[in-house]
C-alpha cells in the first residue's frame, strides 16, 4: 500500500546532500515550512547549499536561521530585503553569501518550467534591466523578451494544509504561493502538513498538488 506519510522528518531531510539546491516555500511567513527548516538546521550536515526562495528570512527565524547556521553559500531570491532581514544583509555585505536576484514572476515560471520539462522560455519580464544583463534576448511580434532557463531543484521543502496517503495536497489561502511549483520542480519534495486525511476525503476537483509531485509528508 502506498503511504507517503513519515513520522520523523529527520530521515527525509537526510536525503539532502552537500551542494544541493533546496527550494523553500513561503511568501513572507505564509507557507514557510518552519519545522522542515529547523530539522535541516539541527539534523543535517549538508553544507554549501543553494536556497531558492522568495524571501531570505527575518529576525533569526526560518530561512534567516538557516543562513545563520552557515549551511548556505548561495540564494536565488526575489525579495531578500525585508524588515529585520539582518542575517541575510550581514552575510551579503560581507560577501559570504552569493545572491542571484530574480524577478518574482520569473522565479515562479523558471520553477514551473523545470517541473514541466520546458528547456527555456522567452519572458518579457526584466527586459532592458540589469537583471537581464548577459542574457539572450529576442523580439517576437514587436515585444522584447529575455530567454530564461529552468531552476534545477534537488529538494523542495514546502508547507501544505492537508494530505492523503498518496501525497495529494491542498493548501491554506495565500500560504499556497510557491508550494505547487516548487513541488513540481524538485527531484524530492518533502511537505509539512496540518492535517492528514483518509484517501477520498480530498475532493479530486480541489486537489492543488497531485501526489505525483510529493515524496514524503509529515504532520506537524
Amino acid at each position: 500500500m502506498i503511504n507517503k506519510q513519515i513520522s520523523d522528518p529527520g530521515e527525509a531531510i537526510s536525503r539532502i546532500k552537500d551542494g544541493n539546491t533546496i527550494a523553500i516555500g513561503g511568501f513572507g511567513g505564509a507557507g514557510s515550512p518552519n519545522v522542515l527548516i529547523d530539522t535541516l538546521i539541527t539534523r543535517s550536515d549538508a553544507k554549501n547549499l543553494t536556497i531558492v526562495s522568495n524571501n531570505a528570512g527575518q529576525n533569526e527565524e526560518g530561512i534567516a536561521a538557516l543562513l545563520k547556521a552557515g549551511k548556505v553559500s548561495k540564494i536565488v531570491c526575489s525579495f531578500p530585503r525585508m524588515k529585520n532581514a539582518w542575517v541575510f544583509e550581514e552575510l551579503y555585505r560581507r560577501g559570504k553569501l552569493e545572491l542571484e536576484l530574480v524577478p518574482q514572476g520569473n522565479l515562479a515560471e523558471r520553477l514551473r518550467a523545470r517541473g514541466a520539462g520546458i528547456g527555456a522560455f522567452f519572458t518579457p519580464t526584466g527586459y532592458g534591466t540589469v537583471l537581464a544583463e548577459g542574457k539572450e534576448t529576442r523580439e517576437i511580434e514587436g515585444v522584447h523578451y529575455v530567454l530564461e532557463h529552468p531552476i534545477k531543484v534537488d529538494v523542495a521543502l514546502i508547507k501544505a494544509k492537508a494530505a492523503d496517503r498518496f501525497g495529494n495536497l491542498t493548501y491554506n489561502k495565500t500560504a499556497r504561493n510557491f508550494g505547487p511549483v516548487m513541488a513540481m520542480a524538485a527531484d524530492i519534495t518533502i511537505v509539512e502538513v496540518s492535517d492528514v486525511v483518509a484517501a477520498g476525503e480530498l475532493d479530486p476537483e480541489a486537489v492543488v498538488t497531485p501526489g505525483i509531485y510529493v515524496d514524503h509528508f509529515f504532520k506537524v
Binding site: 511568501f27 513572507g28 511567513g29 505564509a30 507557507g31 522568495n54 526575489s78 525579495f79 531578500p80 530585503r81 525585508m82 532581514a85 541575510f88 544583509e89 551579503y92 555585505r93 545572491l99 536576484l101 530574480v102 524577478p103 518574482q104 514572476g105 520569473n106 522565479l107 515562479a108 515560471e109 520553477l111 514551473r112 519572458t123 518579457p124 519580464t125 526584466g126 527586459y127 532592458g128 534591466t129 540589469v130 537583471l131 522584447h144 493548501y171 491554506n172 489561502k173 495565500t174 500560504a175 499556497r176 504561493n177 510557491f178 508550494g179 505547487p180 511549483v181 492543488v208
Partner: protein, 222 residues
C-alpha cells in the same frame, strides 16, 4: 506629501479606475487607492501577486490570519467571490496582459514610460526586486503614483532615467501631487490631463524634466 495630499492623490487615481477593472496595487502609496474604490456602486477586482483575486479590506484586529495576506504582507479579509492560485498562475495573469491596471510607486519615470522603482543604483544597497518588473510590463496600463519632485526638489519625470530601470516603455499615466500626465511613445513630452488648482503651467513645467503638452488639460483655469 502630507496625509491629506496623499488621500487626494489616491482619490484621483481611484476615480480613473472603471467598474469591473482588474487592479493590482503596489506596496506603499498605491495601497491607499483601495480606500477610494467604489464598493458596491463601482466594483473593482483586486489582484495580489501572492495569489488572490477578489475584493477585500484590511483584516480587523481579531480576524487576522497569517496565511491570508496581500503582497505587502498585510493581513486581509475577503469579501465573497474570491479565488486563490499559486505563484506561477498569479504571474501569468500579470505577464499575459489580463490585469487592466496596476498602480506603482516610482523613483523616476521617463516621458516614454520607462520606469525606475526598484533600485537606486547605490552599490551598497541590498537589492530586492519582488514583483515590480512583472507588474510594470504586465498590466494593460501601468499607473505611477509619486511625489512630483524628489526630496532635493529634482524632477522625477525625466527625459532619461538615471536610476536602473524596472521596465521600458511601460508607464501609461503618472499621478503626482500636482498633476496627472500621460506618457508618449516617442518620449518627446508628457501630456497634462490635470493640474492642481492654483498652479500655473509655468510652475508645473519648472518642476518637470521634460516638455509638457498642456493642450489636453481641461482642469486648469476652469
Amino acid at each position: 506629501m502630507n496625509t491629506e495630499e496623499k488621500m487626494a492623490l489616491a482619490g484621483r487615481v481611484a476615480a480613473d479606475v472603471p467598474e469591473g477593472a482588474y487592479l493590482n496595487l503596489g506596496i506603499g502609496l498605491p495601497t491607499l487607492v483601495a480606500n477610494h474604490l467604489g464598493g458596491e456602486e463601482k466594483e473593482v477586482i483586486l489582484h495580489t501577486e501572492n495569489g488572490v483575486l477578489g475584493r477585500w479590506t484590511d483584516a480587523p484586529e481579531g480576524e487576522q490570519d497569517p496565511d491570508l495576506i496581500n503582497a505587502g504582507k498585510v493581513p486581509i479579509k475577503l469579501l465573497p467571490g474570491a479565488a486563490f492560485f499559486h505563484h506561477a498562475d498569479s504571474f501569468s495573469m500579470m505577464r499575459g496582459g489580463h490585469l487592466d491596471i496596476c498602480v506603482l510607486g516610482a523613483f523616476q519615470v521617463s516621458a516614454s514610460g520607462d520606469l525606475a522603482n526598484w533600485h537606486t543604483g547605490d552599490p551598497q544597497a541590498v537589492p530586492a526586486v519582488g514583483g515590480a518588473m512583472d507588474l510594470a510590463i504586465g498590466a494593460r496600463q501601468t499607473f505611477v503614483m509619486m511625489d512630483h519632485v524628489d526630496r532635493e526638489g529634482n524632477p522625477k519625470i525625466v527625459s532619461e532615467l538615471t536610476y536602473p530601470p524596472t521596465g521600458l516603455g511601460c508607464v501609461t499615466r503618472i499621478y503626482t501631487n500636482i498633476g496627472t500626465f500621460e506618457t508618449s511613445p516617442d518620449g518627446s513630452k508628457v501630456k497634462a490631463l490635470y493640474i492642481a488648482p492654483g498652479l500655473t503651467q509655468e510652475q508645473v513645467q519648472r518642476q518637470t524634466g521634460v516638455e509638457i503638452d498642456f493642450s489636453l488639460n481641461k482642469t486648469h483655469g476652469e
